[in-house]
Symmetry: C2
Subunit: 346 residues, 2 copies
Amino acid sequence: MDINLNDRGRRILEAVIQDYILTAEPVGSRTLAKKYNLDISPATIRNVMADLEDFGLLAQPHASAGRVPTDSGLRFYVDTILEVKDIPGPEQEVINQEFVGRTSDAAQILKLSSKVLSSVSRHIGVVLAPRFSSLVLKQLEFVRLDKRLILAVLVGVSGMIQNRIIEVEEELSQEDLNRFNRYLNDILEGLDINEIKVRIVEEMRQEKNRFDSMVSQALELTSRFFESGEDEDDVYIEGQVNLFDYPEFADMEAMRNIFTAFEDKSILVRLLDQTMNASGVQIFIGSENRLAGMAGCSVIASRYSSGSRSLGTLGVIGPTRINYSRIIPVVDYTAKLVSHILESTL
Amino acid sequence: MDINLNDRGRRILEAVIQDYILTAEPVGSRTLAKKYNLDISPATIRNVMADLEDFGLLAQPHASAGRVPTDSGLRFYVDTILEVKDIPGPEQEVINQEFVGRTSDAAQILKLSSKVLSSVSRHIGVVLAPRFSSLVLKQLEFVRLDKRLILAVLVGVSGMIQNRIIEVEEELSQEDLNRFNRYLNDILEGLDINEIKVRIVEEMRQEKNRFDSMVSQALELTSRFFESGEDEDDVYIEGQVNLFDYPEFADMEAMRNIFTAFEDKSILVRLLDQTMNASGVQIFIGSENRLAGMAGCSVIASRYSSGSRSLGTLGVIGPTRINYSRIIPVVDYTAKLVSHILESTL
DNA sequence: CGGCAGCACTCGACGTTAATTAGTGCTGCC
DNA sequence: GGCAGCACTAATTAACGTCGAGTGCTGCCG
């Protein structure tokens, strides 16, 4: 959309949005003239607002009410008016504090991240954990539990851990398994899951000629491991109660939709997945994520990564009148911090 | 409380409760006489209802409204009127189906259980996972990840798995760790976490005289493992959206309280923990769990166990007018089924 | 010609009143 | 003791008037 607004138009749009973010109420020309020293009279403001309404940036809930920013209005504001500043020092410090002294696996870190995002933003914090299928293998370990039960532990770079229990027909000793482990780690380390699957098939073909029963058993077991894989996408959600603090969700229907979306995690996964391949903070406003049943909500998200490989995304979900200028830097900083922590973990 | 009700009183109380469970509306004498063939006139029913109100079993929302069962009324009903039947065959079959063909670790089973409880009851399903501290060790395994990083995998009976990453100062080879593993599993298998802690201290004391560096390192590492333990109690909650289907939660405040309780899982843990030492299905009605911020809700819970050792509890949370006669057998059956599955897993 | 004071108009919010309705408690008869 | 009849009560709903916030428009002024 090519809207060309003069400076006055922009300043008024900005003021409307700021006030609306604060109060969640339609804002009128008088209030605007008083609270924000724009040095123009209410009457003039009214004229400008009428223009902004023609552009589709503002709307009136009813004929004689104040103006409310539309989704496009917010989009315009975010894209062309808002200047994103650095995260304020104290806020940065608060976030840092939450993470100190926690050496743990990735799952813990990510869970914590969603809590931090939620408590700092006072909205909903979400974290999409790395896809199992995009995991890069650091180490694969089989442990004998019982005559017919084997525990497989897969450790990915960045500390992702996956356990799985496998039932087998023939009994295997731990010594057998240790040999498997050495052999498998040798050929599989550094590959991602898809590459591993390909490699296993390859190895199996070659194996036909070698007749090494150890190799053959190891490959068989590994492929069992991967086929039993329920490719569950983990999403951590925290702070859903915060929704209750915002009057725009006072009616049940809106609330229900959102909670439904949260319960069927696949919706969130699809939503957050969109930012996997984009760098920097991505923003989805209101109706832009209608398909996710989350009209009325904005999503501010950023991917986190290890080196050049993006792992997952994290972000904040709130009402469309979320405080963009405050939350964007928070999400940005948290994504970078989490990336950093995961990189240094393993 | 020693309330002595004649048969007519009981029948009317039961009818009121049944109707209230169905409609969530105060029920009047006329409706009662018409819908339930009690063979008495509305006027007489009124008299009886007045008596029941004196006993505190029924209440009037306002002077000229119908009657609503009180929490004590429901308690009385559950304790002395309700006859708990076996779970209906088809329902049992539905539950069974959900679990077939899933060989997995306990965490998966429990998560699934909460989903099943929720979808079958159309209320909220909750499962309290076994306490880490009450876990009985099946196997402990250290795996070398990196120069200074070791992965500890603890497998409990019933398939509970705990991972933890430990940082160490001195480099240890996998061969060292294998020796640790053999030694530790030898002395620790079959002990629960508390017993293990005691045993480790004991061994350390004895070790002072033996000067075996392997033993000393192994013990040191194990104790590191346990002290890094954040004793997080896992709770699986599923089906929170179902709350939106019940008119009694139409006002926000009630809803907010419940969601708050769910977010601070420690509240739920305390609640569910009460049933850990009781056999059979336990029921908490409305104000009985006011302390958990869940007045207006009933909790129907039962513990699940492996052999004689109780592991955790599972149950259903719904409005106080939850259909007790249908849900109680469901919870009972699910608890037994989960126990059975966990027993046979490991 | 842009800005703005003034003014009539609009529409939701709120409070009042009245009609409706579901359901009670009580009285007195069988 | 059971119950028909009746007066009474309180929530619910609709209709109506008032109030106030806020608009759009007109026309004046620098």
